[in-house]
């Protein structure tokens, strides 16, 4: 006999979607159809249910993409035509840029430090310990600086934006803005996108710098590499094309993180529970987007720069 569900709750109550069809699985478990040619109505119902779920999932996915693209168009229009809300832009530059400084400084420093620590052991096997600076600078500049800063911003900024805008949606503040003659995209989205776009590269440069300093501290005090050797190695490892890659990527990452946060926030529904859900979705989507966008932009820049 099949269990009826956890805690005494019937399976049909826990999974209301399955109520639509007959109890196929139970019948299937008791006796299999004798011949393939015999049509089993339960099997058809299961297939319909799967198609129904698939169709709903696809429709929701397409709708999300459509709304995200529409937000991009509205944002670009809002960023290139008046009215501009300068005060909000400055507030967001402060909130996103200055507000994220601590987390970016700590992340950058410890990443550079651990990179030197780990690579020191490996480089020792080849007697190449003096090259630790080159490895730290190249890794931080090209990949770890932009991606880790992006991930930190996705956690801090993506969630914050989704929660703030989501709360405004569920408490009718967005409708109140519209009723007072303000376009919410111009007032809320554009300042955040501008701030994310401008601040992500600046924060990445800061993360790169403190990362290299963190690596220097480990190199000097732990690995006993001379300071001048480390810095010479750092400079040897810096190529203009790497610098371009390290600078261009954060522009894309900053833009993507903020637009995802705004999009998820504006699509919030379902009260305070919906705000919580939106916050989680924003962090997950923005984090995955950071890694994915990093890959595609890297691929593009390798084609263009190298």
């Amino acid at each position: 006999m099949r269990p009826s569900g956890s805690g005494g709750v019937p399976a049909s109550a826990a999974l209301p979607l399955l109520d639509k069809g007959p109890p196929c699985r139970r019948r299937g478990a008791l006796h299999l159809p004798a011949r393939r040619s015999e049509r089993d109505p339960c099997h058809d119902a299961d297939r319909l249910l799967v198609f129904d779920l698939l169709e709903r999932w696809l429709k929701n996915g397409i709708l999300e993409v459509q709304e995200y693209v529409r937000l991009q168009v509205a944002t670009i229009r809002g960023a290139t035509s008046p009215p501009f809300y300068y005060r909000d832009i400055i507030q967001q530059l402060d909130a996103i840029g200055v507000g994220s400084l601590t987390v970016v400084l700590l992340t950058g420093f410890f990443t550079g430090a651990v990179l030197a620590l780990q690579s020191g052991i490996t480089l020792d096997q080849f007697g190449a310990r003096p090259f630790v600076g080159r490895l730290v600078s190249a890794s931080m500049l090209k990949e770890l600086g932009p991606v880790l800063t992006g991930l930190m911003l996705a956690g801090r900024i993506g969630s914050g934006i989704a929660a703030e805008i989501g709360s405004m949606v569920v408490t009718d503040q967005i409708n109140a803005l519209r009723a007072l003659g303000t376009d919410p995209v111009r007032k809320l989205v554009v300042p955040r996108v501008v701030a994310g776009f401008v601040m992500a590269p600046i924060l990445t440069i800061i993360a790169d710098t403190v990362g290299i300093i963190g690596g220097w501290m480990i190199a000097v005090f732990q690995l006993r590499v001379a300071s001048s050797i480390y810095w010479n190695s750092v400079i040897d490892g810096l190529y203009p094309n790497d610098a371009w890659m390290g600078i261009l990527k954060p522009f894309c990452l900053g833009y993507v993180i903020v637009t995802i946060g705004c999009h998820v926030g504006l699509r919030t529904h379902g009260g305070t529970q919906g705000v919580g859900r939106a916050t989680t979705q924003a962090v997950v989507a923005a984090s995955v987007a950071v890694i994915a966008v990093d890959f595609f932009v890297t691929r593009l820049l390798i084609t263009l720069l190298y």
Partner: protein
């Protein structure tokens, strides 16, 4: 006289759920329309349609002679300039002070000089009796104060039309009475056209049957004469359909079982 607001055969559905079905009415300038009905009957939706926050599936909506149901979001801003709305629970901006909330439209969306805007903010906060709360944040206000600030925000830019969405729901009777009086004052002293969405019958009848009269420096509320009372019309919605339209006396005398149940 041309109607301030006119709805013709408006219908709206969300997926399979019919919210409004063939709703029609008109509202003359300076008059009041009270929309009654149970929760989920489509009352608040009507206000959102008038403001252009939602688009109907069918029918037409005119505000000050302009058709809003077919307007783009950019064009509708001009129509919204003459409408103020008091949202359920106030919908005040959490990050702004009372002063910034009330003066939002003047500071952000108009070319009014700052000094003049400050004066207007003080004036409207004085009108709702909350002058001394100017520097407070919305989270520091009581429910009644939040509604009054919301009324002040809606009236700050001197709109010709004010829409009240459950402005007194959840308030104690004394605070609700204060909000009712603000609505009457705006209608009778400022000539504002009002739509009041509520399921609080006591407040609805009070606003419909009283008028505000300025006497020297203070305002008095008296029983409205028959002509004035006729300017306040009631609409009763049941499952998105208008099941009654008439004045307060006709509503009290209605024999429809649903209305009788609602009034009892």
């Amino acid at each position: 006289m041309d109607a301030s607001i006119e709805l013709k055969h408006v219908s709206l559905a969300f997926d399979d759920k019919v919210v409004l079905k063939d709703v029609s009415f008109e509202l003359l300038p300076g008059h009041t329309k009270v929309i009654l009905g149970g929760s989920g009957s489509g009352k608040s939706t009507i206000l959102k349609l008038i403001l252009g926050l939602l688009k109907p599936d069918g029918g037409t909506i005119f505000v000050n002679g302009k058709r809003v149901d077919a307007m783009s979001e950019e064009d509708i801003m001009e129509v919204r300039a003459d409408i103020g709305m008091v949202f359920q629970e106030g919908a005040l901006f959490d990050s702004l002070s009372v002063e910034e909330n009330v003066g939002y439209k003047l500071y952000e969306e108009s070319r009014m000089p700052e000094e003049e805007a400050n004066r207007r903010v003080q004036e409207v906060l004085g009108f709702v009796g909350l002058e001394e709360y100017m520097d407070r944040m919305p989270s520091e206000l009581s429910g009644g104060q939040r509604r009054r600030v919301a009324i002040a925000r809606a009236m700050a830019a001197k709109p010709g039309i004010l829409l009240y969405d459950e402005a007194t729901t959840g308030l104690d009777p004394i605070t609700a009475m204060t909000v009712d009086e603000e609505m009457i004052k705006l209608r009778d002293l400022e000539g504002v056209t009002s739509i009041i969405v509520t399921h609080q019958l006591r407040d609805a009848f009070f606003v419909a049957t009283h008028e505000a009269v300025r006497q020297n420096s203070h305002v008095e509320f008296t029983q409205a004469d028959a002509q004035k009372a006729d300017e306040a019309e009631f609409i009763m919605l049941k499952d998105g359909v208008v099941c009654f339209e008439g004045n307060a006396t006709e509503l009290r005398a209605a024999s429809d079982p649903y209305i009788r149940q609602f009034l009892s």
